[in-house]
């Protein structure tokens, strides 16, 4: 962290205060309220009573919650590395200056990021149609029998594909931007020393990307653990494959909105928030340790 250069005074608050005030209103207050809710229990018959930590105890022993957490962990372990790796390769390729039409690549691969998640999911949902959709069309045209992307066995992969599609360009751009800041003189001297392209990548480019990688990873972890929009919209097309406890976020949502168990939902959400924070923090610590 920087900030060694400034004298300490309250003056900075005049800039930070507006943000902090709104932030407190739309984030901290609801979180505080959630914590409050999570300590109670309300029933359709019998009203509200203080429950202490019962809801948390219940959450920790809830197989639905753990299966949801397991699913997003799997998603995190598979989708995030694939997406970041892909983004990294493209960023390195564009940065290498060896592509025809570099600018076009850069912008075109980024474009899906500007597509709203709702639209992206509706679109992929149409395309996933294995009977009459694009998959069905390919099956007919090429005589294939591609498996149904919306079946329970493949649904997680299909969601992973949508998320990858949406964010690969975004992450690519973050990496690419980080690479652009490396002074050209560094490459030149490396080449004069006889270093090959591969050596330049490992010795100069990857270290330069460390900060960007850490940030991209943290945002991806948070995104994975909060997976919601894509499965919730696809649910309509794959109801049995996407259960009410498909992801922790979906589960918390189902609890509060169809089950009216908002107390318990609040507890689930807070447990999930703590887990996310711990992991994100650990990644940040590891990522910045050697700097």
């Amino acid at each position: 962290m920087a900030g060694t250069r400034r004298r300490r005074s309250w003056a900075g608050w005049q800039f930070v205060a507006p943000f902090v005030a709104v932030f407190a209103f739309v984030f901290l207050a609801p979180i505080g309220y959630s914590i409050h809710l999570s300590l109670y229990r309300t029933r359709l018959i019998g009203g509200t009573s203080f429950a202490g930590l019962d809801n948390y105890r219940q959450a920790l022993g809830d197989p639905n919650f753990w299966s949801a957490l397991g699913r997003v962990s799997l998603f995190l372990a598979v989708q995030v590395p694939i997406m970041l790796f892909l983004a990294l390769l493209v960023a390195l390729a564009i940065d290498s200056g060896r592509l025809h039409g570099k600018a076009f690549f850069r912008v075109a691969i980024f474009l899906p990021y500007a597509v709203p998640a709702v639209v992206a999911t509706l679109m992929w949902g149409f395309m996933y149609g294995s009977r009459f959709g694009l998959i069905g069309g390919l099956n007919d045209a090429l005589g294939l029998s591609l498996p149904d992307p919306l079946s329970p066995g493949l649904i997680l992969a299909s969601i992973g594909n949508i998320v990858t599609w949406e964010f690969v360009g975004y992450n690519m751009l973050i990496f690419y931007s980080a690479l652009r800041v490396v002074p050209a003189s560094l490459y030149e001297s490396a080449e004069i020393d006889g270093a090959g392209q591969f050596r330049i990548v490992t010795a100069i480019k990857l270290p330069a990307l460390r900060g960007a990688l850490v940030i991209a990873t943290i945002f991806s972890i948070i995104g994975s653990f909060q997976l919601f929009n894509e499965p919730s919209i696809l649910q309509k097309l794959a109801p049995n494959a996407i259960t009410t406890h498909f992801t922790p976020n979906l589960y918390a949502y189902a609890l509060s909105f169809s089950g009216q168990q908002y107390n318990y939902a609040a507890a689930v959400a807070i447990v999930m928030g703590v887990i996310t924070m711990v992991i994100a923090y650990a990644v940040q610590l590891r990522g910045t340790k050697e700097r």
């Binding site: 390769l89 390729a93 751009l173 959400a269």
Partner: protein, 286 residues
Amino acid sequence: MAKGIRRRRSALLTALTGIVLIYSLVPLVWLVLNATKTQEGLFSSFGLWFDDGRFALGDNIRQTLTYDDGIFLRWLGNTLLYVVAGAGGATLLAVLAGYGLATYDFPGRRGVFATVIGAVAVPGTALAVPTFLMFSRLGLTDTPWAVIVPSLISPFGLYLMWTFTREAVPAEIIEAARMDGASELRTFYRIAVPMLAPGIVTVLLFSMVATWNNYFLPLIMLRDPDWYPLTLGLSAWNAQAATAGGQPVFHLVITGSLLTVLPLLAAFLLLQRYWQSGLAAGSVKQ
């Protein structure tokens, strides 16, 4: 980028990266192609080509814009309002706060960023009920404020402006302005803002995307379709196929999606010079 100029172009590398390019573009191509089809045509033709003989794009666009008394335009107007107020406000707050965090040392400074990152980890969906109740007590639900106020916070924007300010605004210049007796705000406005321009555009664009794509929050907060943003409206049209007596309008959902995506794509293409350099400084320093 000077360093790239003298490099040999590689067809192989271009082809390999081309795979990712195709992956990125195929769904968009699908969207454009299918926006040219009638509802019947959607069902009867191959997804990645035109429907033989019928090119209904103009007709679809006209229908999209006029269907249900032209509510699509109303949704578009709402979305613009949310984007201007929400993304504009978010940018303003993020720029101010990012600048404050980067330029000053003040009591509680470390706490601010830690809290913001920590709060982001709490699933937003879980906050829906509490936020809704708070807002409804304040009489804000079912009004544009319910969508705009929560959009004012962009943690990513804050992070970006923070790092960007440290890169782009040398401490010496601020210090010099202070010596000259300029007030803190004046220093910010006169000296820092021009230097921060690329970063501001970047944050603005990313906040625009976030607001334009906002779906969950309006879903909870709004019940009058007259206040819907486009995302919610499109999903309502899509759901219409599932109502007794309702009219399926898949072709309008697809055409409407295309019309929803276009303005953002245009903004990104037109402003790419700015946001790319904005991101550059933002992402490199940790």
